[in-house]
């Protein structure tokens, strides 16, 4: 979806103004710690995947997305998923009081303290093998599709319609567009090299390239 999260090339946000690396804490408030931990812990319940999680944050009103801090966006996304997936009700979210019991199957999936390190170390790969060979080879010239799905996609707006070269083939991975809709599909993934002048026009700086990972269905041969 073409919403506020798709920030590449936007103007008007001002300077980066980084906090010093030496003094910036990992979390700026205690509630940020909790927002991270709750998001990670509930993710292990297996009721949603990373793309559904991203989609929940992105599909907020763009004004909310841009006004809120990063962890506020995480919190909004988490509240939305918990309700949508039926883990809590709107009423429970509003009151903070449990009105129903959690079923046994779900309780058996709860991440226990002693399993945390193991679970984080294990991670979850996005690789998904498929039978079809890759359509493109390294060095092929491709054009990113000019399409505008209303649902989640990982093809940023600034590459759509633009031409580049296949830099690398990264095997096949779960397609985020389908994954965000709860459907697991594997597709070949490529890294595409774009010249800055192709993306930003002839006045853009020379000696500047942007590499973007794009799935096969995002690309046409050019």
């Amino acid at each position: 979806m073409n919403s506020a999260h798709d920030l590449g090339g936007r103007h008007g946000f001002g300077l980066v103004a980084p906090e010093s690396e030496q003094s910036e804490p990992v979390f700026h408030t205690d509630w940020e710690r909790k927002a991270l931990a709750l998001t990670l812990a509930t993710g292990f319940l297996g009721r949603w995947n990373i793309d559904e999680s991203r989609h929940a944050r992105e599909s907020q009103h763009p004004v909310d997305y841009l006004r809120q801090t990063y962890y506020e966006n995480w919190l909004s996304g988490l509240e939305k998923l918990l309700v949508e997936k039926g883990l809590i009700t709107e009423e429970e979210l509003k009151t903070g009081q449990a009105l129903s019991k959690t079923n046994e199957e779900l309780l058996s999936r709860v991440l226990k303290a002693e399993k945390v390190t193991e679970a984080i170390d294990k991670g979850g790969s996005s690789n998904l093998e498929i039978d079809t060979p890759p359509v493109f080879q390294v060095g092929d010239r491709v054009q990113a599709k000019n399409h505008h799905p209303l649902t989640h996609t990982r093809e940023p707006g600034y590459v759509r319609g633009r031409k580049g070269l296949i830099e690398a083939h990264y095997d096949s991975h779960i397609l985020p567009d389908d994954n965000s809709q709860g459907k697991r599909t594997g597709e070949h993934l490529y890294c595409v090299r774009f010249e800055a002048t192709e993306l930003w026009g002839k006045d853009s700086t020379s000696q500047h390239f942007v590499y973007v990972d794009l799935w096969e269905s995002y690309l046409d041969r050019a």
Binding site: L7, G8, R10, H11, F13, G14, L15, V16, A17, P18, E19, E21, V26, F27, T29, R33, K34, L36, A37, L38, L40, A41, T42, R54, R57, H61, D64, Q68, Y70, E72, L75, L78, L87, E92, G96, K101, T102, L107, V110, L111, A113, K115, I120, D121, G123, G124, S125, S126, N127, R154, P156, Y158, I174, L189, C191, L199, H208, V210, D213, W215
Partner: protein
């Protein structure tokens, strides 16, 4: 902000988190000790010192550097860093004429096992919007001034591949111990917004 329809202004996030936490604990959906464990992991164990160790080793050990560039996930795992948000790593090497810098324009993808959680600026709209279109001015804000003929490569982390910059070694690297080198590696140099400052050969 009255002309658009969006949800009512959310209440204080501190209250919202507190209320959500107690609800999820009451429903048995989270183990409070697991929450503490997760926070502790990212606050004290998984952070940019991990990445600094990998970089220093690559500078000192050419065989490891080759391994790191060819099989990054495996090489990093061999040093004990693996898992969530680092399942598929790619290492890009900075040299005197190529400068790599990493971003996630769509959200905040970042190589957690080697760098920990991203700093606020990495997740911010100014960085995400500008570094793909105007990287030189963004780098200058970090005090990084590149020669005109240096090629800039910006890596937008749109997939689950996680990018990690191997910064250019300081000129005095052969005179330093592994530990000394580790302490010179900044988090920002492994994102690609800074170069390594060499106290023996200041710019």
């Amino acid at each position: 902000m009255t002309s658009h329809q969006h949800s009512t202004v959310p209440s204080d996030p501190e209250l919202r988190v507190k209320s959500l936490e107690s609800l999820l604990v009451e429903k048995g959906l989270v183990d409070p000790k697991a929450l503490d464990e997760l926070v502790d992991l990212y606050e004290t164990k998984i952070g940019p010192r991990n990445g600094a160790k990998v970089v220093a080793k690559a500078w000192k050990d050419p065989e490891f550097k080759k391994y790191l560039l060819q099989k990054p996930t495996e090489a990093i795992s061999s040093q004990g860093y693996r898992g969530r948000q680092g399942e598929n790593m790619k290492v890009v090497e900075n040299t005197s004429n190529i400068h790599n810098v990493v971003v996630c324009t769509l959200c905040s993808c970042y190589p957690w096992p080697v760098l920990g959680l991203p700093p606020v600026w990495y997740k911010s709209a100014p960085y995400r919007s500008r570094v793909v279109s105007d990287p030189r001015s963004v780098l200058e804000e970090f005090g990084t001034f590149l020669e005109e003929d240096v090629e800039i490569r910006v890596w937008d982390s749109t997939s689950e591949i996680r990018y990690f910059v191997l910064p250019e070694a300081p000129k005095s690297f052969h005179k330093k111990t592994l530990q000394q080198l580790e302490s010179m590696v900044t988090r920002n140099s492994m994102i690609g917004v800074e170069k390594i400052t060499d106290p023996d050969n200041p710019l």
